[in-house]
């Protein structure tokens, strides 16, 4: 069973905002709502500037799902977190609970009225008939039902943003990091299980051959 996830490679993201544009265009997302955005840290600092593309991460234990007072969230068999807009009351609890700021609320009128929540659907639509007009108007295009991956990941020019089954995209990322010999210190094994210091050499997973970065560190 697939668990659909996004993974953004900070070494590759060039802050082009192509993913943001692709998402807005694909789903005809209204003005003021950004299902995806690019976050940059150390902007302008040579050698230290890093960007990542952020949207709903389709958490396995989603906080939005846990706090929703009307239980409008559900997870599909592919691990995509979706919600029913007919049930959503626009209370905003999910926005406070989400560590990524994924839930968005349409701002209509001078007083910033809070509408029903809108968020990244992993291009999987919602609980309306697949590929129907109702589904497109409420949730956007259902690319998974067309056998495609999310538009943001598929059109990423540097392939910094990967989308798909967590196992598959983690393998792609791991192979990349092994080839280039850096990047694992940003996140991944070293950050999760290593010494936790910036620039420290991450330990190799048990049973796996040492990566070039590890070998380089030893020499």
């Amino acid at each position: 069973m697939a668990r659909m996830k996004f993974l953004c490679d900070a070494e590759r993201c060039i802050e082009c905002n192509g993913c943001v544009t692709a998402c807005k265009q694909e789903h005809e997302v209204p003005w003021g709502v950004n299902r995806r955005r690019v976050v940059t840290i150390n902007d302008g600092v040579i050698g230290a500037e890093k960007s990542i593309s952020v949207a709903c991460m389709h958490c396995s234990d989603a906080p939005c799902m846990a706090v929703c007072p009307v239980d409008c969230f559900y997870r599909t068999d592919d691990g995509v977190v979706l919600h029913d807009k007919d049930l959503c009351i626009g209370c905003g609890y999910c926005f406070y609970a989400c560590p990524f700021g994924a839930p968005q609320f349409p701002q209509a009128g001078a007083f910033g009225l809070r509408g029903k929540m809108d968020k990244c659907t992993f291009c999987a639509g919602g609980p309306e008939p697949d590929k129907s007009e109702a589904e497109f108007k409420k949730y956007g295009r259902n690319r998974l039902a067309e056998g495609k991956l999310p538009a943001c990941a598929e059109m990423c020019s540097t392939k910094a943003l990967l989308g798909g089954d967590g196992d598959v995209i983690a393998d792609i990322y791991r192979e990349r990091v092994t080839r280039r010999g850096k990047g694992s210190e940003v996140w991944g094994w070293g950050t999760a299980y290593g010494p936790g210091q910036k620039g420290a050499t991450p330990p190799a997973p048990a049973g796996a051959p040492a990566s070039p970065a590890v070998q380089k560190g030893k020499s």
Binding site: A2, M65, V70, D71, C72, F73, Y74, R75, T76, D77, D78, L82, H83, D84, D86, L87, A124, G126, P127, E128, P129, D130, K131, N142, L144, A145, E146, G147, K148, L149, A153, E154, K159, L162, G163, G164, D165, V168, I169, I172, E175
Partner: protein, 78 residues
């Protein structure tokens, strides 16, 4: 005594169960909304990726090919 141990074992194992949150028509969990349909139950587009309608395995196989196409080394050497 044996029955007591069995009941205790069942109760202990029940604590390890994952909470069901999947909106399939048969298992709704806590979700209150409309049930969703599965992507593999759709007919593929004429000029798009192909799979056998209703066959989850064939849908997953073709979407995995698409995922692997994100790996430029593999895409170049395909």
């Amino acid at each position: 005594m044996r029955a007591l141990v069995l009941v205790a074992a069942v109760l202990a194992m029940a604590g390890c169960m994952e909470v069901e949150q999947t909106a399939t028509p048969s298992k709704l969990g806590k979700y209150q909304g409309k049930p969703d349909t599965m992507p593999w139950n759709n007919s593929p587009l004429a000029a798009g990726p192909q799979w056998k309608q209703g066959d989850r395995t064939s849908w997953e196989e073709q979407i995995k090919k698409r995922q692997l196409a994100q790996h430029e080394d593999r895409r170049i050497n395909q």
